[in-house]
Symmetry: C2
DNA sequence: TGTTAGCACTCCATTGGGTCGAGTGCTAAC
DNA sequence: GTTAGCACTCGACCCAATGGAGTGCTAACA
């Protein structure tokens, strides 16, 4: 059987209607809803076909039809294509240009959640090419050193080191020079045992401090790797009865709270360097099992120089894909602009 | 009417039973439950009295009784007194001694949530006496300076400053000396316009850099003030049917997600310098309106030198107060120990 | 051949009555 | 002061009946 234009129109009508109401859609509704001027009987025949083809399904014998995952997929694909064409103006948004990245991201998540009425997440940008830019040791106390490590993109790590013997200014200066001449400009992956042992040798009696600094750098990488994720609007799921029953709600809320599980979404996106577009996971397509009753829309944003993060919107399958996709586009562009402004 | 010993015993029996089952408790149950050897009829009489006195109430005419907020209050007060006396051994806990404070706090929140089956929150310690310990400007790039500000308690703030003209090493050194001699050891509140203008004058052409650093310090205070709160186990509320209906669950989850509202709990506790004990809010006693159907138990922990935070456990009114109070005591002591070890 | 009206049928949601049981208050007896 | 007993109340649960929304199928129509 073939999916002719009329079938597509009917399918779209079913989906749109279901998106609005959340109730199964009957043939009579469609017969009035569309401008096709077909009787409910004809619609019924077409609907039987669509069901056979797997685009819609009946929750039970004498109910209306609801879209299947496959049906949503068709709808979304068509819509995405449309969106891709229209180059939309970026709307004004109320982002206070906070200096602190995490404040900004929290705000973005919240803004999105409030605007869309869905749950949202955003991952902090991950720096891919992590080069050391600058290292500085300073004496804070007689037995405490402060190690400041600045990486490309002005990501800064601090560490307090405890030292047994007090260091004089000259030694400190020497160590600083040693560290900077050897490490500046190096990508983190390039720092190998050879470099380290050489530096230790040069540091002489203070080799343990070099070790400490290296450790601090290593820790910096680690901290960077378990990426920050901010969420908002998890309680929006209560607005959709099909997600609000205790069992499901509990699982979803938990996923949001743990955040750990959300990284799967992010990983999946960031792994693919090329893919910077918008991705839609419907129902079981999602990589996160607990969200199999939801749909997830993700977008990748970029802050120049390989710093990329992911934004996600999580809602019921009957989410307003249209609006969500537009909103995500706008937001990712905004983030882009923000970066340029700050540069 | 007076609350004699027998009434108290019956009240306790009612509460204990209700805590376990979550169902209204009938007279026959109590008659078998306690070792008072009283018939259900007698219990009924006593229960009528207790109801009149406001300690228990009937959800509807022919149901058993459930404790009122006032009833819980009596129970909790009695229990607290008991607990205060027994000096309990600190149990072994699985806290990895992470260096990063926020990891630690997240872990504590989670640990608590898993152990108690309630929702938990913990606020990052707030430093009350914020003294500057050390300031350092370093050149990162031709037009970028890194300002590192270390405060008492090794709280570190970084800021990248953008400068128009390139500074030579000597100027940088001078500025560093200027900043440190004028500001070190000062409490943040003590830095006034007088100090600032004097420093600016001394800095001459570079007075704008001094301004920037002062701004950075000011921002440091601000960031410190809107305190970090970590939460865990919000989805535990679904385990208690009386909290799991959509309306209530949504509100509670929202409160947890926003976190902002939770600060009220913290503020209330931290304002009172003396009060470092455990506080129980039952139902409407809570300062957070959305939690009027819950009980909240909070404890203050101290990491020496005026760094204090708050831990809270949020559950149904029929929470196992006994266990919660013990657990909180253990945890706060543990945090104390942790600090001593690291010192 | 595609479209439509009509009809029988299915199934869910809702409603209302009936029953059951847990629990109460009251009274009278111990 | 305590208890047994009894009538009463009220929510929970079950069940059957009802109604409505929606379907599939068939026959007639353009």
């Amino acid at each position: 059987m073939q999916l002719d234009e009329r079938k597509v129109k009917i399918l779209q009508a079913i989906i749109r209607n279901y998106l609005e109401t959340g109730e199964p859609v009957g043939s009579r509704t469609i017969s009035k809803y569309t401008d096709l001027n077909l009787s409910s009987a004809t619609i019924r025949n077409e609907m039987a076909d669509l069901e056979e083809m797997g685009y819609i399904l009946q929750p039970h014998t004498s109910a209306g039809r609801i879209p299947s995952d496959k049906g949503y997929r068709l709808y979304v694909d068509a819509m995405m294509e449309e969106k891709e064409k229209e180059l939309e103006e970026l709307k004004e948004m109320m982002i206070e240009k906070e200096d602190k990245m995490d404040h900004l991201l929290k705000q973005v998540a919240k803004l999105l959640a409030v605007n869309t009425n869905y749950a949202t997440m955003i991952s902090a940008p991950v720096v891919h090419k992590n080069k050391l830019k600058f290292i500085q040791l300073s004496r804070v106390d007689t037995h405490q050193l402060l190690a400041v490590i600045v990486m490309e993109g002005n990501v800064i790590k601090n560490n307090i080191l405890h030292v047994a013997e007090e260091l004089n200014d000259e030694t400190l200066l020497k160590l600083n020079i040693l560290l900077n001449t050897n490490l500046n400009g190096m990508a983190l992956e390039e720092i190998n045992l050879g470099t380290i042992s050489m530096m230790k040798q040069q540091a002489g009696v203070h080799s343990d401090i070099v070790s400490d600094v290296i450790d601090a750098i290593a820790e910096g990488i680690k901290a960077e790797e378990d990426l920050q994720i901010y969420t908002s609007g998890a309680n929006n799921i209560f607005k959709y009865p099909e997600l609000a029953d205790n069992q499901k709600a509990s699982e979803i809320i938990n996923t949001f709270e743990e955040k750990q599980m959300l990284t799967e979404l992010v990983q999946e996106r960031l792994a693919d360097e090329e893919n910077t577009g918008i991705q839609v996971y419907i129902g079981n397509e999602t990589p996160i099992q607990t969200m199999k009753d939801c749909s997830v829309v993700t977008a990748t944003y970029e802050l120049g120089e390989g710093m990329r993060g992911t934004i996600g919107i999580i809602g019921p399958k009957r989410m307003d894909y249209d609006k969500v996709v537009s909103t995500l586009k706008t937001i990712t562009h905004q983030l882009d602009d923000l970066y340029k402004d700050r540069k």
